[in-house]
Amino acid sequence: MTEPFVHPYIPNTAPDVRAEMLAAVGAASVEEFYADVPEDLRLGRPLDLPEPLVAEADLERHVSGLLAKNVPTTERLSFLGQGTYAHHVPAVVDEVIGRSEFLTAYAGEPYEDHGRFQALFQYQSLMGELLSMDVVNVPTYDGFQATATALSMAGRMTGRRRVLVASDVLPAKLSKVRDYVRVHLELEFVAPVDGTAEVAAVADRLDADVAAVWVETPSRTGALEHRLQELADAAHSVGAILVVGTDPVGYGVLTPPAEQGADIVCGDIQSLGLHQWYGGAHAGFIAVHDDPKFVMEMPSRLFGLEATDVPGEVGFGDVAYDRTSFAHREEGKEWVGTAAALWGIAAGVHLALMGPQGMRELGEVLLARTAYAQRALGAIPGIRLTDGAAHMREFAVDVSDAGLTAADVVRALRAEGIEPGVPAGEHELVVCVTELTTQRDIDRLATAVTGLVAASAAESAATLDTVATPEEHRA
């Protein structure tokens, strides 16, 4: 600690400058500036915080030392997904979003922050191509929020309260959506069959008081919905809106929901060029057709193209700003604020690098690795795939026939340095592969599970023997 206290982050702690500034404003001390803070509200003691590490080297050693306790997925064999995914992040993506100009900017105008406006307009546009939709927002917080807002939009547009949930949804996502919409909307669950929506059951429940049908594809367990158009037709026949929650990672090879009747498509872009960050790098997209009925219900900012004084020059600005809470406080649509712009820029760079061919190849690799992993695990006696749907990236296995719980599998395989997946119920395990999961990785998982199943069978056989023929054993 320097004496007097001078800190590198606070230039005007330099004593002479501080004295000069106080003199300039005619103040004897900084205490005068706090005249409006009543004495009895003053803390009157130093904050009780750890001793600081004011030297940069000390700070770095300390925090890096804490982080060194982490054992990341690069040092384990991870089949973890359920919202956060380990995809390759191109080096150019990190380079761009690490630039001071983008990293430390905030809310400048379309002139001095032209680059931010263009990068985000391009993000909107690149997502628009991937999703076959004409309007995409500047990212909101995450896919949970995007979905909650998409359903809220449907409620406002229809003036109705019922939402039919036709897919398995991540529990945390459902938790967020439920609490967010519960004043305005009621969620009703129509159980999927064999992994995907039961169209007839959804149709049966549809009526003129339904605001939206909500489909997730891939579902919580990675199942791809293949009857979207039928769901859309059924929803539209009663004036309801089809909201599709999705992960955009597959649309180089999969038909975009908009081409099968989806009205609002929403989800998370973590898969598009963001590291896992312990689940701390999520951003939500909401896409709609270029229909003012929908657009005017969106709370997020929307950057649009504009002309300038100079022919050929590209300008940008806020589209329909009057929608927002920035313009009209509580009269705006929900609210808008600091959300996840940098992650949107990253996703835009990612899509520009990948191009149509890269996104197609990525989709194919994901389908191939998923199919291989399903076969490898499904072939193990006692391990059963939970449904026959097409899957991308994730699928669930039921381990009950092997006499195991999902938690048993996790516990046993962690001891071998493998994170085999995420339990979804007592006996179901959701396994995730990405393009980074090699055939050898999958084979290693299958071998480990096979070993565990065999050990479990041997143990239960031994138990059975013990129970059935104690005399023999003694003999």
Partner: protein
């Protein structure tokens, strides 16, 4: 010309990069590739066959998405040029974005987080493998509990407005748990509190009452008392308000709310000037939030991700979002949200890289440093106010003759009446000198507003430079108003026409919409 070099002129001769870069779709060349995807092994391919052909009918995309096809360096160059056409806090004297606390985000923190030990962590890994991340989350929560005086803190939200939503969601759950959910239908806020307090309350189903200040700009306690009733769920206020005025009767505000059974929610977006001076809990608040990206030094990311820190009293703790990080002995564990929790407010634990940055920022400063942050931010603000009020035509409405805390909402009304030049026009012209400038949230209660917040990060010389620029633009407004009206002149692009942004027939929110609506446009 020969040496010596002449002295610099009084004002910087700035010109921002102007690359005239096309929209990225115009840079596409068929067949180019930006990055290649790892291929599947031949044996795997053979085992699974043609996976696309095997998709259910209708699921395979027929036409490839019209993404651009570009070599890697061209993508990089395009985006680096765009970055140069953007003015981050690292480059400008970023004090013109009042309420946003554009302080220095230390570079060492970027280096600290840039490790697979953080970036390659999956949130559902064995907690035994995540002890470092969990410990930092836990320690940061505890430090912010001390800074706010609250009992528990959650770092789950991704921005200030998200944290405001969490505040009202917890308040709603609290009243419902007490059987008063139906009765308490109103939320009271003030016009100089952030608009998201009003907007989030409305989104949560509440009727919003917005109070205006008294004649001198102070929050009006009598108006509050008239508005409070058994229908009130909460007051949701910012303090200091966006005027930089600290409400000296804040304790009375909280007490009045409590007297009718309402809760008191404190938006601490403007906390930078009061760190270590006074705390939310000491004024009796039940819930509060910090904008961690503002007050605790994480970069603003062109508009996020930020981080919100929600602090609550013990009575509200059961309603915090989950999952929670708990310490058991010397180990850290993850505990699912309890029965009364508002649940998952977002995925997992929040914006973890920001939490680590904030942890490092606080650890670099400590108690004495945080107090120095506050005192210097306030000194800088009062110094800058003196400089601004010396400019003819500028004023600081309200609290005349009083000091301000960390920011001031100024007015160019006098200059506007004299010259017809608006605050927006002054801001655009200020960008010609390399400066950001912002007016105010809407509605413009202060006429021709501008809001400056110098934080602790800028030197006296930089504050002087900013004030000199505004003085120069004010002089131009009087002497050469056309220069101001036709600005910008030294910027990335020229004056932009906003006519097409509010007409659904003409707006273009994506490139594909632009091409559809303007099929004959050059380059489209």
């Amino acid at each position: 010309m020969s040496l010596p070099i002449a002295p610099k002129p009084a004002l910087r001769r700035f010109h921002q990069a102007r690359w005239d870069e096309p929209v990225i779709f115009e840079l596409s060349t068929p067949g180019e590739r930006g990055v290649l995807v790892t291929a599947v092994e031949p044996a795997l391919r053979e085992a699974v066959g043609d996976v696309v052909a095997a998709l259910p009918e209708g699921l395979a995309r027929r036409e490839a998405p019209a993404l651009p096809e570009m070599g890697q360096m061209r993508v990089l160059k395009h985006y680096l040029r765009l970055s140069q056409e953007n003015l981050g806090a690292d480059l400008n004297v970023d004090i013109g974005q009042g309420t946003c606390t554009m302080k220095y985000a230390p570079k060492v923190n970027e280096r600290i987080i840039s490790t697979p030990k953080l970036a390659a962590m999956h949130p559902l890994q064995d907690p035994a493998d995540a002890q470092g991340a969990l410990e930092i989350i836990w320690r940061t929560e505890r430090m912010l509990a001390e800074v706010s005086g609250m009992d528990e803190v959650s770092l789950h939200t991704q921005g200030g407005s998200a944290a405001i939503w969490a505040n009202i969601a917890m308040i709603r759950a609290y009243h419902e748990a007490n059987g008063e959910g139906e009765q308490r239908r109103e939320v009271i806020t003030t016009i100089f509190s952030h608009p998201s307090n009003a907007a989030a309350a409305k989104a949560a189903g509440y009727d919003v009452i917005t109070l205006h200040p008294d004649a001198d700009g102070y929050p009006d306690l009598e108006a509050l008392k008239r508005a409070l009733s058994p229908r009130t769920a909460a007051i949701m206020v910012t303090n200091p308000e966006d005027t930089g005025i600290y409400n000296p009767a804040i304790r009375e505000w909280v007490d009045a709310a409590h007297a009718v059974g309402a809760l008191a929610s404190y938006d601490q977006a403007n906390a930078n000037g009061i760190l270590g001076i006074t705390r939310a809990r000491d004024a009796g608040f039940d819930v509060c939030h910090f904008n961690v990206h503002k007050t605790f030094g994480t970069p603003h990311g062109s508009g996020g991700p930020g981080t919100g820190a929600n602090g609550v009293s013990a009575a509200l703790a059961p309603f915090l979002p989950g999952p929670r990080v708990v310490r058991e002995g010397d180990r850290y564990e993850v505990r699912e949200a309890g029965q009364q929790s508002i649940g998952a407010i977002g995925p997992f634990h929040g914006v973890v890289p920001n939490i680590v940055r904030a942890y490092a920022w606080i650890m670099a400063l400590g108690a004495e440093g945080l107090r120095a942050v506050a005192e210097t931010a306030v000194l800088n603000n009062n110094y800058l106010m003196k400089r601004i009020l010396d400019i003819p035509g500028a004023s600081a409405p309200y609290a005349t003759g009083r000091r301000r805390i960390e920011q001031v909402r100024y007015s160019w009304q006098e200059l506007f009446e004299e010259t017809g030049i608006s605050s927006e026009e002054i801001g655009i012209r200020a960008s010609d000198f390399g400066m950001h400038y912002w007016t105010s949230h809407h509605p413009y209660v202060v006429p021709q507003p501008f809001t400056l917040e110098p934080t602790e990060s800028y030197s006296k010389a930089e504050l002087d430079e900013y004030a000199d620029v505004l003085a120069e633009v004010a002089r131009e407004a009087r002497e050469t108003p056309e220069v101001v009206r036709t600005a910008p002149h030294h910027q990335t692009v020229h004056h932009t026409h906003h006519d097409d942004l509010d007409d659904p027939e003409r707006w273009a929110i994506t490139w594909r919409a632009y091409r559809r609506k303007y099929p004959d446009a050059v380059g489209a």
